[in-house]
């Protein structure tokens, strides 16, 4: 789950990390007010969940509260990369002496959170790590033991930072690591972490991402402290009608699991496939053999006839779909005969001939003998486990392209 910059600032502030006297505004009047309170030059920043704000004109400087209001007015109406802003952040324009980077990410190999620090802040940390490796400090923290300040101190010191800067940066990085763990973040970054002219350190920008699996147990942070509504999920893209319909069918029936995706797919062969790894394998196999999938899908668990039927119907009703291929890796939990009933019913309910419409049915496993009886009765071409997933996909492609099967 992604956070807007103004939310990330709040998270960082709650963890005891110094932030600016920023204000989140949803109107030009509010922006004027905040600028007045700040009493100096300000930066107005669009609050959108996409990059390229600067380039698109979503970041502007203002010397007076009037200017701040004017910029806010403009930016609140400015669409950036297809996103409309939630509001604007009004920030005091900082007198920065030096910019640093502080971040925490997951290291999947070490299976621990990794603290990162650099005295070359404000730019892409991956670039710095490549071109100036001795300016990037790294250190893991335990998952079980509390984070102790010295662990952060070591990471900061590794970049050569010393003196009062070391002593100010240390607790900030340590608190960032603690909030990363406590709030189930997958990414927690402060870039830049600014050292101001007066020697104080302040987070000038913050970027947070929380693991979706943990959203359910972070109610205090999300609902109380950040006031984010439960249905505000900030997905990276808008689900299509197909995707939403399939999700609705899935949600309405607890028997089995279905999922459908069609972003980036626009072919004529609908896929009713599973499960997880099987779906990936089959989608590859169809494409590699010249097929044009209309969608990706996953069917798994122990679905009802209705659920299997629901998915197949949604796929069949997509624009341009001529036939569907029903294929899975060997199943033990999913019943072959139940899926067979479901996909055949989908055809019948849409007034289509199952034998013509289902290019191939390849699901080996539980209750397959019963499934084969049903498929034979309706003239659906099917194959058993002796035919590989690759070959089954190939047959589906050949069928839809009109070649003799």
């Amino acid at each position: 789950m992604r956070f807007f910059e103004y939310e990330a600032r709040k998270v960082v502030e709650l963890a005891g990390i110094p932030v600016t006297k920023y204000g989140f505004c949803t109107s030009s009047d509010q922006a004027r007010q905040v600028a007045e309170e700040i009493g100096g030059p300000v930066v107005i920043k669009s609050q959108v969940l996409t990059g390229g704000r600067m380039k698109a004109g979503g970041v502007k400087f203002a010397d007076t509260p009037e200017e701040a209001a004017a910029h806010a007015e403009e930016i609140l109406k400015l669409e950036i990369n297809g996103h409309m802003p939630r509001g604007v952040l009004v920030d005091p324009k900082a007198e920065v002496k030096q910019e640093y980077y502080a971040g925490v990410v997951w290291d999947g190999t070490a299976k621990r959170p990794l603290m990162l620090f650099s005295d070359m802040g404000g730019i892409d940390i991956e670039e710095v790590a490549e071109t100036h490796p001795d300016h990037v400090g790294r250190g893991h923290v335990s998952n079980l033991l509390p984070v102790s300040d010295f662990e952060a101190k070591q990471v900061v010191a590794a970049t050569g930072v010393t003196g009062s800067q070391l002593n100010r940066a240390t607790p900030i990085l340590a608190r960032l690591a603690r909030l990363f763990r406590e709030n189930d973040m997958t990414l927690a970054e402060i870039n830049p972490l600014a050292e101001l002219e007066d020697g104080s350190f302040v987070a000038l920008d913050a970027h947070m991402e929380m693991e979706n699996e943990a959203v359910g147990r972070q109610k205090k942070l999300l609902r109380k402290q950040l006031q984010i509504a439960e249905d505000d999920t900030r997905e990276t893209y808008e689900p299509s009608d197909f995707e939403r319909h399939v999700a609705a069918i899935d949600a309405a029936d607890h028997r089995g699991v279905i999922q459908g995706k069609d972003h980036g797919f626009s072919g004529n062969l609908g896929l009713v496939i599973g499960a997880g790894g099987g779906s990936l394998t089959l989608t590859d196999a169809v494409r590699s053999q010249g097929g044009k999938p209309a969608n990706y899908s996953e069917i798994g668990g122990n679905p009802s006839v209705a659920k299997a039927c629901g998915l197949a119907k949604e796929v069949l009703e997509k624009d341009g779909v001529e036939k569907i291929a029903v294929m899975m890796s060997i199943v033990s939990n999913t019943r072959v005969d139940i899926v067979a009933r479901g996909v055949i019913k989908a055809c019948l309910e849409l007034g289509k001939d199952p034998g013509e419409t289902i290019a191939i049915f390849r699901i080996p496993g539980a209750w397959e003998d019963e499934g084969f009886k049903i498929l034979e009765r309706y003239g659906v071409e099917y194959c058993d486990r002796s035919v590989s997933m690759w070959e089954a996909a190939g047959r589906a492609v050949a069928k839809i392209q009109g070649a003799p099967a």
Binding site: G108, E213, A214, R217, G276, L280, E298, S388
Partner: protein, 305 residues
């Protein structure tokens, strides 16, 4: 001989009274696995398919009269960490975590404690592991009859990020007359208890295993880790890899999530193309099509002779 499991392996099922657990308990018992107890807090005194249910792991251990080798954990995600920690702290050294959607902070904590105590976690979000005709730990392969059909004993160790594909690949090896020494469904999450590289030493030490097949997907650095391990350890085991999800390299697909949680692609490092290159550089044969696996294995085995 196979890895991690033997004819004498004893294990418990934590969360045994749940729907999925009741099923897999039946399946494992039918397969000949020695399930010596189940744990569901509050349900002590009950029985599931003849297996006694306890409130705590300690009670199960006491009832058994000695250390219990393993546990299959099917407890819901909010409680999984607690269950796994309980198993570890009661001397259980092999823990299969079936549950999915566990926050990775919890998983990382389980794994760290397991490392401290010399225990091994398989999963989470996995179907377990199986040594054909010896022991089945988890839902892998389904009912005993079906598992027997797909898994014949043989020289190939199988490791897969997808539970279903573990059986699909193993079945194809069985059909090709090769067979499996041990098949492990390692799980689909971003952080798991045992990666390919971490399991390789077991296979390396197992006389029965003569080759390895891995199923993998984009996301994460496990393949890079495996490639490094193979190089650093001068492994005797030829490896054949199959990677699914190559279509995710397409521009339109970037940033979307397919399949398992660990498959969310982050950065150039993790694309299918890069991974394949890395594996091949380490001498690992990457096949294009899933049905090429048995022949590729036969080739490697023939070459080794």
């Amino acid at each position: 001989m196979s890895i991690l499991l033997s004819k004498d392996t004893t294990f418990i099922v934590q969360g045994i009274t749940g729907r999925e657990a009741v099923n897999l308990t039946r399946e494992c018992l039918d397969y000949g696995s020695k399930i010596v107890g189940g744990v569901t807090p509050g349900r002590k005194g009950r029985e599931v398919h003849g297996v006694p249910v306890f409130d705590t792991v300690a009670q199960a251990v006491e009832h058994h009269g000695g250390p219990i080798d393993g546990s299959v954990v099917t407890v819901p995600p909010a409680f999984t960490k607690d269950a796994v920690l309980e198993a570890i702290e009661n001397g259980i050294e092999l823990i299969v975590v079936v549950t999915e959607r566990i926050p990775r902070g919890d998983v990382a904590q389980m794994v760290e404690l397991a490392n401290m105590r010399g225990a091994r976690i398989i999963g989470p979000n996995c179907l377990g592991l199986i040594v054909p005709e010896v022991c089945k730990m988890g839902g892998i392969g389904g009912p005993a009859k079906d598992a027997a059909k797909a898994y014949a004993p043989g020289p190939v160790g199988v490791m897969s990020r997808s539970g279903g594909m573990t059986t699909e690949i193993s079945s194809s090896l069985t059909q090709a007359g090769l067979g499996v020494s041990t098949a492990v469904s390692i799980g689909g999450d971003a952080i798991i208890g045992s990666t390919y590289a971490e399991l390789m030493p077991y296979f390396e030490a197992d006389e029965q295993t003569q080759a390895i097949v891995i199923y993998t997907e984009p996301g994460g650095r496990m393949e890079a880790q495996l490639a490094e391990w193979v190089k650093d350890n001068d492994s005797r085991l030829p490896i054949v890899a199959f990677m699914a999800g190559k279509f995710m390299d397409d521009e339109e697909m970037k940033g979307m999530s397919f399949g398992h949680a660990g498959t969310i692609v982050e950065g150039e490092e993790d694309t299918a193309t890069e991974k394949i290159a890395r594996l091949e550089a380490a001498g690992i044969r990457v096949v294009e099509r899933i049905d090429e696996i048995p022949d590729a294995v036969k080739e490697k085995l023939g070459a080794a002779v």
